[in-house]
Amino acid sequence: MSVWVQLAYLIAAILFILALKGLSSPKNARNGNLLGALGALVATVAVFFSGIGTNNLPVILIAIAVGSVVGIIASRRVKMTAMPQLVALFNGVGGGAAALISVIEFLHGGGESIPALIATVFTVVIGAISFSGSIITFLKLQELMTSRPVVIPAGRWVTILVAVLTVVAAVWLVISPMTWLLIVLLVLALFFGVLFVLPVGGADVPIVISLLNAFTGLSVAASGYVLDNVLLIVAGTLVGASGTVLTSLMAKAMGRPLTSTLFGAFSAKAVTAAGSGEDRPVRSAGPNDVAIMLGFASKVILVPGYGLAVAQAQSTLRELADLLTERGVTVDYAIHPVAGRMPGHMNVLLAEASVPYEQLKEMDEINPEFSSTDVVLVVGANDVVNPAARSDKSAPIYGMPILDVDAAHQVVFLKRSMRPGFAGIENELLFDPKTTLLFGDAKDSLTKVVAALKTT
């Protein structure tokens, strides 16, 4: 391979690092992503000058073109809310590609040295897990299958059994490379990927996607070792390492250990508790009352949550905020880091309704403000304002930082019922004397409040 190609690879690797660096800072995120794309372009051009054979050149070019077009169309057409599952799908196909490449290397007798053979087998296993696991996460998020944790009878034991069988087959394959065994291994790994993701609750899926993303990174790194390609090693390892960090950061932001996410413990609990509805008195009100409270306040904070996304009420919320601002009310949005079902969910949602970025206040920034706020309007949020996170050690969200909504003078909740949120626990704040509830779908309620406000 010529030195120039290797230099191009090195430049691509540097661009990938800069991409990750950029993506970690709000200011440079978009440029970072473009740098990454540039790196990919450099590498893809370079590979054709690396003295690879000229067999199949036309099909190769066609395949690249078709893949690119499919990728572009899928990414452009997808609705904002469906992005997580698209990322999952992309991740899966990447893992699949890595696995296939190693299969091909294996068929070519790529296992001349033991380390290379180990790397080949590793890629096949991890790539296949990532592939099938990602497909399941896609199906869950796309609601093509239930997003509830799927509990197979004796599921844990089956999973462990398949895991053991996979390891055995992998070791055996390293010892005696045989094609039929490779196929068995492939099937086992695919099956394991499915079992691995099935018990995860739909809302935990972002964490799992991130983990599978790290997996794919590692399998790409291993396939780089097999192909003696430094760029694949560096890029794959970067993704593997940063994906691991990211997964643990995500789990931390939701205030619970990774293990419980993976084994569905948390989600299972949520399902159980979700039915509990006590008969304690609450104060509910109509849209007119809420409109009056808001209209005559001097400072209002809006707290959006998952329900806003469900009701697709972002534009209506913005309309309400605009009306209030016109009346001279100070209005801010309080964005909890894990409100909704994916990190940045609220930012994306409100950006869709063109809410100016300056009005979105992060948790640390807004928390001191609540005590001087007249009315907090909580739209379809629950866990992120639940004081149990501060006080109740047994609550699954205990320790998660929350928005200090209970410090405000008055709190209004827009929700459909007394049902709890994602974590499945009662919210004491709903029963607080200063709390008012407006039952109903968030979009309906907001529309009514807006109408009432216009006549107030």
């Binding site: 800072s25 050149l57 990447g94």
Partner: protein, 102 residues
């Protein structure tokens, strides 16, 4: 330096870079960062190109073409979807300033 050790060194340094570079990311960027990282591993595409270009049997070529297809979808789609996400995140002057002062 033996080539093996060289690759190992590169591997380990890359781990450190990967760890350090994202460890300061703010929660808001978790999803785009995940998506961007996801796009980066689509570079496995070039692996697909290499094996397919060397392939001499039809079976292998078919597998290789599938790998290229999947890799290209991952790579190109990944960057495009990340860009679309980030369109939503307009830069906010305050956050970086805060970081600087630490």
């Amino acid at each position: 330096m033996s080539p093996e050790i060289g690759l190992l060194t590169i591997f380990i340094l890359s781990i450190f870079v990967g760890f350090e570079v994202v460890s300061k990311v703010s929660t808001v960027l978790h999803t785009p960062l995940m998506s961007g990282a996801n796009a980066i591993h689509g570079i496995v595409l070039i692996g697909g190109i290499i094996v397919t270009a060397q392939s001499e049997s039809v079976g292998v070529t078919i597998l290789g073409v599938i790998a290229i297809l999947l890799g290209a979808i991952n790579l190109v789609g990944g960057f495009v979807v990340t860009d679309r996400m980030l369109e939503m995140f307009k830069p906010r002057a305050k956050t970086p300033a805060k970081e600087d002062s630490r």
